[in-house]
């Protein structure tokens, strides 16, 4: 699948993912929702790098990482390195992963998020002095659970508005 005019959809989905990652919840929603904190950007990045690897560049992924670093307060370069890792992994294996069932893709995503979470928690622990914790396991689980509907929606949008 080569996306001819799909750039805008890729761009929009990344923008939306970034906005949702830092969104402040409306005041009628309960406070504990703060703890459900999926990694939207990696989810979207994984989708596009599998479905349309020619639309996702390493350098752009790295630069998006800077924006995330600044918005989330991470050390500069950390998110970029993680995005580069995910993109390269996807580029190398996208033909195989695209053939996987949704479940298997979810499992691959979980593995990626596990490694990314481990790296992030460790770096943040040593650089910023935050406590090392296993919260990233929760993040990975929730992201994978949301991966199923989100990938489906992106697929529908792609076929409807961009064409194969």
């Amino acid at each position: 699948m080569i996306l001819e005019g799909g750039r805008w959809l890729v761009f929009l989905s990344f923008l939306l993912a970034m906005i949702i990652s830092v969104m402040r919840l409306p005041n009628f929603l309960p406070d504990w929702l703060v703890y459900i904190d999926p990694d939207w950007v990696i989810m979207v990045l994984f989708y596009w790098v599998i479905q349309a690897p020619e639309r996702v560049g390493l350098i752009v992924a790295w630069l998006i990482g800077f924006l995330m670093d600044v918005m989330l307060g991470d050390p500069i370069g950390l998110n970029g390195a993680c995005f580069v890792g995910v993109t390269f992994f996807g580029w190398t294996l996208y033909e195989r992963i695209r053939m996987f069932s949704s479940m298997q893709q979810g499992a691959v995503l979980f593995g990626l998020l596990f490694v990314v979470g481990l790296v992030k928690a460790t770096v943040v622990h040593f650089i910023q002095g935050l406590e090392w914790s296993l919260i990233f396991l929760g993040t990975a689980t929730i992201t994978v659970l949301l991966w199923f509907p989100v990938s489906r929606i992106l697929q529908i949008l792609t076929t409807r508005y961009v064409g194969e």
Binding site: M23, R24, V70, M71, I76, G77, G129
Partner: protein, 271 residues
């Protein structure tokens, strides 16, 4: 195709190494401060968009509020205002008297302080990181290290500024500590964050320190970062453990750290 894949490998490695260099550069120097503030200016529109659902929900609640509840709120606010005005009058008289007495004693008068009201923009969402973003930045004269308070007490300090916004570390973050003193006895201590909204901890207080439940703690002003005399919290529990050299004291912060939209950035006037 093969060419592209092989260059991708090198590029990935190069970018990762560059990231590692950036991370260690930032950890050990201040070279990247301007870069960070530039990038956060670029990220500002995204943060502003991310804020809209919350602002919309607040707006709707305000529109849907009933007349009766508004009248009631208005009455409560008027009551509080008149009480506050009464206290302000007394404070004015007392501070003038204090100034004269200090002048008589020949000691330096306290630094006068000014505050800047700012609105919270983005509240850091990870359960470990207690940071908020406020809508005033270096264009308004905010500098790194300034104290931030809310209506009830000390809120945190500014850790990063960009021209249009600044990041505030709340005092409950594990990376935060503030020098305090007990109003009743004058004992000095350090109140450190615990990563929990409910309490702070006092570090290294010896077993015979005179401190009890209900004591009010204020900033001591030692260290020069925080102005003296702002309430920090109330002692909630004092636990003795015979096997330890220090007592463990938990303090409930006075500031409302997870509610409210406005905070005050404190400007200290240097002489």
């Amino acid at each position: 195709m093969f060419l592209r894949e092989s260059t991708a490998g090198y590029l990935s490695i190069a970018l990762t190494i560059l990231s590692v260099i950036l991370i260690s550069l930032e950890a050990n120097s201040r070279f990247l401060d301007t870069f960070r503030s530039t990038v956060s200016t670029i990220a500002y529109p995204i943060l502003a968009l991310a804020e809209t659902p919350y602002l919309l929900s607040v707006g709707t609640t305000e529109i849907l509020a009933s007349r009766a509840s508004l009248t009631k709120e208005n009455k409560i606010l008027k009551d509080r205002l008149s009480k506050a005005e009464y206290i302000t009058q007394q404070v004015n008289v007392l501070s003038r008297e204090n100034y004269r007495l200090r002048a008589l004693l020949g000691s330096k008068s306290r630094l006068s302080t000014e505050v800047l009201v700012s609105e919270l923009m983005f509240v850091g969402q990870t359960p470990q990181r207690f940071e908020v973003l406020i809508d005033k930045g270096s264009d308004n004269g905010i500098r790194e290290g300034q104290a931030v308070i809310d209506a009830d007490g000390l809120y945190g300090q500014v850790i990063e500024t960009s021209p249009i916004s600044s990041r505030v570390l709340q005092l409950i973050d594990v990376r935060h500590a503030v020098p305090v003193e007990v109003v009743r006895t004058g004992i000095r201590a350090i109140a450190a964050g615990t990563g929990n909204f409910e309490y702070l901890e006092l570090e290294n207080l010896s077993v015979n320190a005179d401190i009890r439940q209900g004591d009010l703690l204020v900033t001591s002003g030692l260290g020069g970062r925080f102005p003296a005399g702002y309430p920090v919290g109330m002692v909630e529990a004092v636990n003795f453990d015979r096997t330890k050299a220090y007592i463990s004291v938990t303090v409930k912060p006075s500031a409302k750290l997870n509610q409210g939209r406005y905070v005050l950035v404190v400007f200290q006037e240097d002489d």
